[in-house]
Symmetry: C2
Subunit: 391 residues, 2 copies
């Protein structure tokens, strides 16, 4: 059968902050007949996926790595390739994922200092500046959108401070929940690493670790004094592979996830090929519009946002406190009954007090699907029903 | 649409030693609509995949790990969880993959000794015994089927020697190219780790690292004196996740490759559910039969096997030298023209002198497909044509 004949099975609407709804053509590509990973038919698909990844991050010269693994593998890549025993790392912590990134850095020998934001907040820029002046850090990491809280960090402002105060510090951004749903100007902002995964804004099933590295960071890695401390995550192994595939020839270190690369390629074509749909800039605008609609609807229903400051709320997801007197078990099963799947809380300190809605990818870009309308009307109905049941 | 309506696109017959041809129902499962990794609908699919993995390896109590990644990630799991700085590892090297496993073990601090077999041969059992008596090894590793040479090691005999001579040494088998195509009696033979990947005998697209660990090896890991040296490959992170999913509840460390787990589940159902097809033992017999047919056809065409000893040749693949006067460029394009994709040589020392044919999974189990007939007739025709062109 052909791609135009394939329709995915009927299913509940998945609006968690990843995995997200995936287009039929992307799922059909994931069902591609088996192909050799060194086939001349597959090589350009891999090469084009590398090139289109650059387009999404608006970078000319950074080096993408596409490796079989969860987004988490990106942390290992950063920690094992860029950090040497005893190097100092500064982690800006805006939730669950900052804790974990710090844990990963320590596993590979980093001396980690954390600046912890209050729940729903970000680390004040002035604090970052003070700490950068007091100590020399090899890397600074932050989470662009913390999936646990929906907090959006100001990546551009953070990068400006680092470049001004501590120009040699590498700027590492965890963009797992932001790439392709939030604007990222990799080159213009002077980022060094953006790591992400396939199953959120990039609209592909999970299983692909995507890491993009600046020329400066590649040089730092190449000047290491000690060997890379991971095998599977080692750029010694993967850099020649990525260069080979992009240049149009195959090379082998480990078998790539061939079907998933086909799927990623199909999704990147939708994201970058402006002839078929919105441009990348229009895509970001559509995410902002959907986000505003969901957050306004939540506010009207008495749902306060977890992010403390409106300008620090993600556009690809919303983290909303339950209204007074309403619990998770009042609301979430009633959404499920309406075929709408949202996510519960994740941040340990407030886990039972809030829930999370993802609004990324085709659910916001393809308005004809009506996904955002469905989310909002289901929220309204479910809450009304929950309140009625309490009387 | 439903699974019975899905047919994969027409394509060339892929008979390399992995990835292999995949059944329509497995590809359809890979195109499953997006699901939450913590959905109550998905949890039992993950749990059953863990249980069926045990069935394939004929073990009651070993612990499977199903993690997003290439087969290579299994080496990192072994090296970072079971080996501590300075521990001694003995690598039985039967080709390309022995070299790489040794490299991985060294990355994580092992002191590695290698016993190298001649090309096409295995390490003599007496040599293994001598070395085990001379030095204490924390782990012994060997490649069950070396994908680069098609050499099959006698896993049972190796395990017997280790258990007799050095009972505390952990027996680690790289089964990437053997699981589900060669018989493996995990418990009876006393293996400690079998690591594999989804895209060979297990008949699933690539992207899943599958590692099965004995209770004894789990205890050795739990008694480590130093922390695990990887983050992404750490069983500290993954053991609670695997236990949770198998017990029927979700847990989170990193997002699993949800679609690929559905696909793996669908393939495991075909492999283990004897009502629908051959039993596991019949499956192994079918691999032997197909292997014999391919190797006999090769012999009749003047193609010598890379394995020096008939009893040490894999049943899931064949590595065949080109006949006298015939090169890769004479034969392989003529197979491609007949829609049959085989693999070139991989072992650096003989790379241009031989080629490899995979005969695993549905290509051998579903005889109605006629894949093995097609492979043999195409080999005969392509060679005849190549010879004629030389006259």
């Amino acid at each position: 059968m052909s791609t135009s004949e394939f329709k995915q099975a009927p299913h509940k609407l998945l609006v968690i902050p990843g995995p997200i709804e995936v287009a039929d053509e992307v799922l059909y590509a994931n069902a591609h007949p088996s192909m050799s990973h060194v086939s001349p038919d597959f090589v350009p698909v891999f090469g084009d996926s590398i090139r289109m990844t650059r387009e999404v991050l608006i970078t000319k010269s950074a080096q993408p790595f596409l490796i079989s693994g969860s987004g988490t593998l990106g942390w290992d890549q950063v920690a094992s390739n860029l950090v040497e025993q005893g190097d100092h790392a500064l982690v800006l912590n805006t939730g669950y994922f900052g804790d974990s990134f710090a844990d990963c850095l320590q596993t590979y020998g980093a001396s980690v200092r954390q600046l912890k934001a209050p729940i729903g907040g970000t680390v004040p820029l002035a604090d970052i500046e003070t700490v950068l002046k007091s100590e020399k850090f090899k890397v600074l990491t932050f989470t662009h959108v913390d999936t646990s809280t929906g907090v959006l960090s100001d990546a551009h402002a953070i990068a400006q401070i680092v470049r001004r105060v501590s120009p040699e510090t590498l700027i590492v951004m965890d963009g797992v929940c932001s790439v392709a749903s939030e604007e990222i100007q990799f080159d213009d902002w002077g980022l060094d690493v953006v790591l992400t995964a396939s199953q959120k804004g990039l609209g592909t099933p999970p299983g692909l670790s995507i890491v993009v590295v600046s020329e400066r960071a590649i040089q730092v890695y190449q000047k290491r004094k000690t060997p890379v401390t991971s095998y599977y995550a080692s750029w010694d192994k993967w850099l020649p592979i990525m260069k080979a595939y992009e240049a149009g020839s195959a090379a082998y270190f480990a078998t790539p996830p061939v079907n998933l690369i086909y799927a990623y390629h199909a999704s990147l074509q939708l994201i970058t090929a402006s002839k078929q749909g919105p441009s990348l800039q229009q895509r970001f605008a559509l995410h902002k519009e959907a986000s505003r609609r969901v957050k306004e609807a939540g506010a009207q229903l008495g749902m306060k946002q977890v992010p403390l400051n409106e300008r620090e709320a993600a556009n690809g997801m919303s983290a909303l406190y339950f209204p007074d007197g309403i619990t998770a078990s009042d609301l979430l099963p009633r959404l499920t009954a309406r075929q709408v799947i949202v996510a519960g809380g994740l941040h340990p300190a407030i886990r039972d007090k809030y829930f999370r809605i993802g609004h990324m990818g085709i659910s916001v870009v393809d308005k004809q699907r009506g996904d955002i309308d469905k989310v909002i009307s289901s929220l309204q109905e479910a809450l009304q029903e929950a309140r009625a049941s309490k009387k």
